[in-house]
Symmetry: C2
Subunit: 767 residues, 2 copies
């Protein structure tokens, strides 16, 4: 595979020239989505080479039977997986009876573009057959951001040097199998195939979970801009509907098919109405027509970009990368449905099974909180609130009691979807991230009602978990937390991971604080919740005791908290002294060697310093950064952003920039040779954080927004916008200084580099 074959451009992702080696990578990179559905950038026409066909529908999953080598108690029997859904984009093409297949034709002037400004994917090329026939192909495709059950494709064929027959066979194929199926099972039941004059529908149902999905298509045929009527030949097989349209065309004529398609599904409509809704959606789309749909698409994306865009001047690859990340985050999750979440691969692949990780709480929520209305972040919190019962069940299964909750490591419907004991059972810090996200949300938005309406129940259940999970060590006369895996998954089953212990203590204290807050401010809610969760006042004594007596491993010699007990027994050789043939260690070393090494996969102690920066002095942060950064190998896509932000805080802009580079083009440049499996969606939020919280130094404490902007030396300038409560602030930074524009109708006081600054409404401050 060629690294770096994507052409730099401010707004577009561009591939030029046809290279079969890049097909599956490009299928990931050029993926499109609209929050409700998404698909890999598979070709419409048949392709006989290596390809990974993928279409996905938000919320639709299948519990696949778990595969393990050696079963351990507590493992889930089934894993919920993102389901590969019926394919509605397919259009087989024949030219004078010859199948168009880029794997067998000669392909000239191939180019593919994804316009991030409006989410439109285009492709054009000339295909030359063995007999000399040449055709020019042009395709345009997008998934509507305004009518999210619909997508549209315009696919045009122009014979260059012959007169002859062009045949389009648009189809629906419901015979799709998950790439990551554990036992190669087919996850769907086909219920019905319906055909009308110009449309086709397949009703199918997921096995076990019983999600009903109607996959639909409707076509128009266009000859040189005029709609034409052509009789179809129809073929219906077991899992597929194919319609075939043929016509004779002259050299230079353009014969096009406009295919409208998409899904309606049972989470959004009564099952019995799916077919009718599908028909209606397609009719509406056809009535509007391709151009009007596209116009709406442009407007919808304009609105998103208006607040979400980050402009970088002087570094076109950085500009392209940050827009790609913002674009993908918006394709994956639009925030209006609290049943959905942000999968680590979004709609671009299947790896990692379930859809929701602690990535959402730790990285994604701040992004959505600052670029969208507060309801979006709230919906992400409510997603977890709605899964609280399952988290309590999950904890019970592992031996906890009395309403303690352990949120799963990976989930779709609230149930655990992972089965490595060292992760599933032990990477419990994720539970703290749930509470941290509530704190973060309330702190940022000021929406304290949320604690009363939803947050408190989660906070209590998690406080209960930590107080049970801590063990009183007689030997230490303190509470310890044994047998955990921290964010650094290159350590398993360790004792007293500092980050976990700190988060546990913080969660307990936050629970105590909010109990008091509720009693004081929302006494009725307090009574209601106390009754609901059978809260007992004596619990707070336990929480206080565990929090007060929590043990933290610390080295006097180094003046740092230790990642875990025994960390100093390791050979602390900086990672940059490893020979490059040993990197990445997760590919070159056996697991045991990794485990006994000091190398850190992703921010662990430093993740704590990121979350709780305000609770430590800067020189303490610096000591920890200097101790841990050299040992960190950043072999998780979620690692460099945290180090980048902390480096910015420590005014080490070069280091911050180095770390920033490691995430921002991770997928575009395919550093880890894995982009063909899908994109790293959640880590894209980390890239955004590296700029806004990192270089921009954006923080908010005590209900005040603050900035401390720095700029990498090879950028000319950058700017971003922040939604903060009732205000939208635009921040511009170059090497001369910075500017803040207040878009809102009321003034705002902010802090810039420790100075208080008032920006009047619709006014600019230059500093």
């Amino acid at each position: 595979m060629n690294l770096d074959y994507i052409k730099p451009d401010e707004w577009k992702i561009i591939e030029e020239g046809f290279d079969k080696e890049n097909i599956t990578a490009s299928e990931s990179i050029f993926s499109i989505g609209n929050g409700a559905m998404g698909q890999r950038a598979n070709f419409e026409e048949h392709y006989s080479g290596e390809t990974f066909q993928g279409s996905y529908i938000g919320g639709i999953y299948y519990p696949d039977k778990t595969r393990v080598g050696w079963w351990k108690n507590g493992y889930p029997e089934y894993f919920a997986k993102v389901l590969n859904a019926p394919n509605w984009i397919g259009i087989d093409v024949k030219i004078n009876g010859k199948q168009l297949d880029l794997n067998t034709c000669r392909v000239i002037d191939f180019s593919r573009e994804l316009n991030m400004k409006n989410g439109v994917l285009t492709r054009s090329f000339i295909a030359e057959f063995d007999d000399g026939d040449s055709v020019k192909i042009q395709s345009t495709r997008f998934l509507s951001m305004t009518s999210t059950e619909v997508g549209v494709i315009k696919y045009s064929v122009t014979p260059i040097n012959f007169k002859g027959e062009i045949e389009f066979s648009p189809y629906l194929d419901a015979g799709i199998i998950n790439e990551d199926s554990n036992y190669d099972e087919f996850f769907w039941e086909i219920l019905d195939k319906i055909e009308t004059i110009d449309a086709g529908f397949i009703l199918s149902k997921t096995l076990k979970t019983g999600f009903l999905v109607c996959t639909a298509m409707k076509v128009e045929l266009v000859l040189n801009d005029y709609i034409v009527n052509i009789d179809k030949e129809s073929q219906i097989t077991d899992k597929k509907i194919t319609n075939t349209y043929k016509t004779e065309v002259n050299s230079g004529d353009t014969f096009s098919i406009v295919k409208y398609g998409g899904y309606t599904q049972g989470m959004n409509h009564p099952d019995a109405e799916l077919l009718n809704v599908s028909k209606r959606r397609l009719n509406e789309a056809v009535e509007l027509g391709f151009d009007a749909l596209l116009e709406k698409q442009n407007k919808a994306w304009n609105k998103i970009w208006d607040t979400a865009d980050i402009m970088i001047s002087g570094d076109i690859k950085a500009q392209q990368a940050i827009r790609f990340n913002i674009f993908q985050l918006n394709q994956t999750y639009s925030g209006d449905d609290s049943r959905l979440n942000i999968g680590p691969k979004g709609f671009t692949g299947e790896k990692y099974g379930g859809s929701t990780y602690w990535d959402t709480e730790a990285y994604c929520i701040p992004f959505y909180m600052s670029t969208k209305d507060k309801d979006v972040a709230k919906n992400l919190l409510i997603y977890r609130y709605n899964q609280l019962d399952k988290a309590i069940e999950n904890a019970e299964k592992l031996g906890f009691s009395k309403g303690a909750a352990l949120y799963p490591m990976v989930t779709m419907n609230g149930e655990e979807c992972h089965n490595e004991w060292e992760i599933t059972f032990e990477e419990i810090h994720r539970n703290g991230a749930m509470v941290y996200a509530i704190y973060n949300y309330v702190n940022y938005t000021g929406d304290k009602d949320y604690i009363a309406s939803h947050g408190m129940e989660v906070i209590i259940a998690i406080a209960r978990f930590w107080s049970q999970r801590a063990t009183f060590s007689k030997d230490k006369d303190q509470f310890v937390i044994l047998g955990v895996t921290g964010p650094n998954e290159y350590e398993n089953n360790v004792n007293n991971n500092w980050y976990t212990n700190y988060l546990a203590k913080w969660c307990l204290e936050y629970a105590l604080e909010n109990i008091e807050f509720l009693k004081d401010q929302f006494p009725e809610d307090f009574v209601r919740i106390a009754e609901k969760v059978k809260f007992n006042e004596t619990e707070t004594q336990t929480w206080e005791n565990v929090a007060a007596k929590m043990y933290f491993p610390y080295s006097e010699k180094h003046g740092v908290y230790l990642q875990q007990d025994g960390f100093l027994d390791k050979e602390l050789i900086p990672a940059d002294q490893l020979h490059k043939s040993e990197r990445p260690i997760n590919q070159k070393w056996s697991w045991d060697r990794i485990l006994r090494s000091p190398y850190i996969k992703q921010a662990d102690v430093l993740q704590g310093f990121y979350f709780f920066e305000n609770l430590f002095d800067k020189d303490v942060l610096e000591k920890h950064f200097d101790f841990y950064e050299p040992l960190t190998v950043h072999e998780s896509s979620l690692s460099p952003c945290v180090h980048s932000i902390l480096a910015s805080k420590l005014e080490r802009t070069e280091k911050a920039y180095e770390m920033y580079l490691r995430t921002s083009r991770l997928d575009l440049d395919d550093y880890n040779h894995e982009v063909h499996e899908g994109l790293h969606i959640t880590s894209m939020a980390g890239t955004w954080l590296s700029i806004v919280q990192g270089f921009g130094g954006m923080r908010n404490f005590n209900n005040t927004l603050s900035f401390d902007p720095t700029i990498p030396k090879n950028w000319k300038s950058y700017s971003f916008k922040i939604k903060y409560r009732d205000h939208t602030i635009k921040v511009f930074k170059n090497h001369e200084g910075c500017k803040f524009y207040n878009e809102s109708d009321t003034p705002i006081d902010i802090i810039v580099s420790n100075q208080q600054v008032t920006i009047q409404n619709k006014d600019l401050v230059v500093l």
Copy 2:
């Protein structure tokens, strides 16, 4: 399933009455084997109920594709598995056209016996059909201990109340599938099916490994003790040869089939000769005839029992149990082939994949060493010696270098057959057991030549491993061993498991000692080996340094070595305070809960005190026993024997007896509801050790055998024999005292309860 349905008897295993629930358990318990092959006690005739068909051939394995949830670097791609082999015991039976099937007939007076005196399995019952026809069935079966490629079955039918047709259809079935196949694959290729007048042969080959096996049968038909000639109808299908013999018999007549069968295989003969050897073996067997073969069988087992038997008076269940254990160990491994080893399930099941664990070195070698000629234990050592290259490869794969060896956790051919990282990569103490076994062998037999001829290479390669595996901790200024799993598998990835660290230090010192020994006593061998393994004198400095500076976790407060770093942080609640609904914890608790508990699956620190008892004072042992015994849950079949031996040493006979009971009838009483999967063969050696080393107090240090006999209060007496160098000593103990008989032609000095005693040749000493 009924526990405890096996009738007590001194020499027999007896099942009376037919209970379908017990079928698969009895198939395990009544298994027979002769060291070269073995089989579960499947019925000869068709059985339509639940059954687990199993026939196994020593040394024949298949590398099954590994199944894991989440791949980790270093995992083996394939697992060698004991192969379920073609079935030669099958005889379908029809009575007046009705199939004999115990699942559908009425079964009266069913009884099954396994005579441990001679390894003969018999079964008798009356089967009554719906139409009232009743037949008496009698079957007798054994696998020859003298001609190990042959087994024989005598199967008789006697109509009780009718005259009619009896039909026997003996068959060979090569279409056998492993119960534990990861992907339900068929592991054999059928090469040829050959039929002669009275015999049938199937040549088949294992896929991938290419082991050729010839499965054979030859039959005689007997009517009321007279051989009769009956024409057969023959049916040959894809993977099966069936011959059918019918005759009309009168009520009271007995129609019998004698089926000779078995395997020849490519490890023992050239592939091209297998068929001829098979023919020859069957002809020899038929020529001898059933009765003469049986006579030879009796003699062979008599010889085994003469030295191996343990007699217990006053406790028939204990007597039955210890004989069952000795019997099974002898069925599984006869010791004349260094390519074979003792699988944890022997020839009785498939669980645990490969065949060789450290059980062999830690538990089985002492048994075989004391009950057989020294060549048997030596063959077990040579088995590992021959796999040294693979152990070096295995270590290289995990990142070790310069000829360091890591023996696999489970193996068939020297390659690793296990893939839980916490076991495969981390349970490295097994490597120490390899060296301990060499020490144990040399110490017991006095065969110091073995060090020069084989042992030293293994000792050096393992010393190299430990010296690389230890990490120098600057913090402690000592060597630590990070990331291990000790014998107690209820702790994973711990630091400084005392047992492992101690064993590592001991291995290094033993290596240094033997380097000196070789230089002094076998200088030519030393030069040869040093050249072969590229030994460098500077290595010894490293070994000395690591051994001298090895760290051991210790508690001043408790006066004990700690199982691992941080052990005192656990809640040290004795296991007997757990509610019985929580036991066994490996079934009731999630894995993480087990890991952070203090509970010990099997002897860990105490395993070290067992191995190195002579290096610690008795009061130190006592402290450790009192600290660890209450925390030990003995959820491994290999645990109680060690505690039993140590309890005897501490003169706690009641505790020793309690522990003894937990292993001796483990399978006969099916404590863990798993006997249907096969027997716990290797732990049976532990039971023997509990008596001989435990109650008998047998030790040998400084080339002297010593005893310190005690007796459980509910036994009247017990006796056992020990082969020790040129002597065979019979030990008898009752509540009045003990007697020692020297069977040999020369006197021997032994120590009994710290007193030196001389026993003249062929003389008895009463104490």
